[in-house]
Amino acid sequence: MTPMPPISEIWVYLSGSPLLALFLTLGAYFIGTTVYQKSNRSSLANPVLIAVILVAGVIQWIGMPYKTYFEGAQFVHFLLGTATVSLAIPIYKAMDTLKARVWILLPGLVVGSATSVISAVSLAYALKLDPALVGGLYAKSVTAPIAMGIAERLHTSPTLTAIYAVVTGILGAILGRFVLDALKIKAWWQRGFAMGLAAHGIGTSRAFSVSAEAGTYASLAMGLNGVMSAVLIPVLIQPF
């Protein structure tokens, strides 16, 4: 029988293979989704945020450089493109919803999409945010897989974009109803569309939890804003 190798050797072997990074990513996400379900799907217990905090904490603790982690986890990352293509299916399913109100929804989409970018960038300048942090703001209202695709094309940080998108989604899901109530927006379809446009998937889940009609319009707005932003953002940021 061969003697058991020392634990440090096993560790060196494991931390060098993609297995550890994949295990960490999936395990942390599993914990995140479990907490999210247990919290009655509260917007604050966002599974991505929980997973990111757990993984970031562990790799800092064991001293694994981010580059090494990402090399292992890139197999998960690669599927973002395929997931983006998959968003065609909910958009197609909502086509009849869109057609019924196309001349109301399209202007709302263009104005909303532009407002998200312009308000974020001008506020960032007004509040003297470090310029290195501004680029990630462009696509912050866009569903993360598309937002990161846009960020890559514009040579801004996909990491910051993903973080801002998740935080924006959570903030929108929590603050949205107060804004909508203050403005006396009563129709569920109007409330849902605004939530999906500004707060993508997280706002959409929130919209579905209050009304199916709001959820359908939120899901449509999220998909449309993904495509609209991919066209609009490169045009809008030219002057900056």
Binding site: F70, A83, G108, L133, R153, T159, A162, V179
Partner: protein, 114 residues
């Protein structure tokens, strides 16, 4: 399942080619999405296998951007020194976006649906 994945990868590849040679500022997967919507509108049905794989990916969408988001460890010092301004920007911007969008819809609905 494999069949559905192949179909999605095909549209992703078509999108990448369209991005590379025609619209370099548009991300390939977004063009793939647009092409797939067009295809579904013409064929008027969702291939069962494709629907299944797409649903699986969309149900676990959050998992897919964990690896990139963990890169936040590289930005921690910068985020710490800017957290107040950044929180204000994100809060105010999402509120302005929700409000503006809803007001445009309300205004147009009032004009067009009466």
């Amino acid at each position: 399942m494999v069949q559905g994945l192949v179909q999605l990868l095909l549209f992703q590849a078509l999108g990448e080619v369209a991005s590379r040679f025609m619209l370099p500022l548009m991300p390939g997967p977004v063009l793939g999405l647009v092409l797939l919507v067009a295809y579904l509108m013409v064929s008027k049905s969702i291939p069962a296998n494709m629907g299944l794989v797409a649903q699986g990916l969309l149900d676990n969408l959050g998992l897919l951007f964990v690896p990139a988001a963990v890169g936040v460890v590289l930005y921690l010092p910068l985020l710490q020194s800017n957290w107040l301004a950044l929180s204000l920007v994100l809060c105010l911007s999402v509120m302005v976006t929700i409000g503006t969008t809803a007001l445009v819809l309300k205004l147009l609905a009032h004009r067009l649906e009466k």
